[in-house]
Symmetry: C2
DNA sequence: AATTTTGCCTAACGCTGTTACAAAAAGTAA
DNA sequence: TTACTTTTTGTAACAGCGTTAGGCAAAATT
């Protein structure tokens, strides 16, 4: 009987409209106006209807969290696929991470800014594993095949992520604009990104030793390599 | 007349008890139970009394923000004063920053985690200038006197801060515990800190060239330099 | 047509930040 | 001491929040 099908479809539509409307409100009015009651108002249903789709407010946030990590993981994978050399992959992923954060401020704020993500939260987001994977493999690939790893890849993964996260979160709320000299730093944040990535890659190349594989852009006195 | 003096003193006492009580509640029960009403209840005054001392809730948070940056700036200055070589100063400050974050989780969360600090907020916290100062001078001091700076010190300052902030904020909420291998990473976060700082300092030393001043601990194959 | 099930809404509970206004206390002056 | 003024404090409300119990009406089933 197609009646149940239609009912399921309609239920799914309501669920989707909850998420869509909520997201639209977050994007246009910020996280401060993310409220169950406002969502109910916007989708023209009463408040309890929302609770028949989501257990509570956090469940909706978790849904957005999932989506955010999915987008980020996909974006990193795509950036990585476009490069051959591990060092270039790292740089491309750094830039992709950066772009994701600033093209999706609301996602990034949710994922890393507010909410104080708990341990349980992490286990509920499988895309985080993919995120880990795609980065770590590039890092590991920097040491020549056969050679034993001169560093802990998980350590390097954490360093990579930490640097990026710090960079983004300080820039995303303009906190970094405490420039005392007050000028000529037009595109500074991106330069900081390049600077940090150079340090990171140089650190790995330094650990492998001068005989390790490297590409032409690994020794820029002027850090002006492309994005 | 001493009557006004006593009144001022009493008013100041109430103000202090508001801050003390609020902070105690935050430390013991977390930010989620930071509420004007709970504070009023704890200090045994009615709610409007609090509004006669602070314009609103954010004003109290701003006060804690100020205090937090003051503590952090002082702590960095102290760590710096204990070291002679700029590279050691950088490492010591990194460790001090790290310790501050984990010994004062509540402060750190307020200062960088929640609250989405706006541009105006920054200008209201003078200790942030000291924070900037104490770090930048160490960085600049790494290049030998007379030699022209081969990098933008403000850029390096941002890199330094970003790395630390990322490191801390990822570790402070246990988000980094996505270790796939699942073992032997007992004290990994601190190792990540060392790793990141090595990259940072190496980046600067690389920029000034091999003739620049350096100390014995600048090339640790085994990153085991003391705190 | 009678009955069960489903979907939905009204209304409430307890919490939040914030404020208008009245009561009480304290200081001042006669 | 009494009368007046000023300052300090509490009561109670407004508007908003997340969440949930209970009932009404429409839909599906028998």
């Amino acid at each position: 009987m197609g009646i149940n099908d239609r009912k399921l479809r309609q239920k799914e539509e309501v669920r989707a409209s909850i998420l869509d409307t909520a997201w639209e409100m977050v994007v246009t009015e910020g996280w401060q106006s993310f409220s169950i009651r406002k969502i109910a108002d916007a989708i023209e249903y009463s408040v309890p209807v929302i609770y028949s789709h989501f257990e509570n407010k956090d469940a909706i946030l978790l849904e957005f969290n999932r989506k955010g990590f999915q987008i980020l993981a996909d974006s990193l994978a795509k950036a990585k696929a476009g490069k051959a050399l591990p060092a270039d992959q790292i740089r491309a992923m750094a830039r992709a991470y950066w772009d994701f954060a600033f093209q999706n401020k609301e996602y990034y704020q949710l994922m890393f800014g507010l909410g104080i993500p708990t341990c349980e939260t992490v286990s509920k987001i499988p895309a985080m594993a993919a995120f880990n994977e795609v980065i770590t493999t590039s890092i590991v690939a920097m040491v020549p095949a056969g050679q034993q790893l001169p560093f802990d890849p998980f350590l390097k993964y954490q360093s990579f992520w930490s640097m990026l996260h710090g960079l983004v979160s300080i820039n995303i709320s303009k906190l970094g604009k405490t420039d005392p000299t007050g000028s000529e730093h037009a595109n500074l944040p991106l330069k900081v990104l390049e600077d940090v990535m150079c340090s990171f890659i140089r650190g790995i190349e330094g650990a492998i030793g001068p005989s390790g594989k490297t590409d032409q852009s690994s020794e820029p006195s002027q850090p002006t390599h492309p994005a």
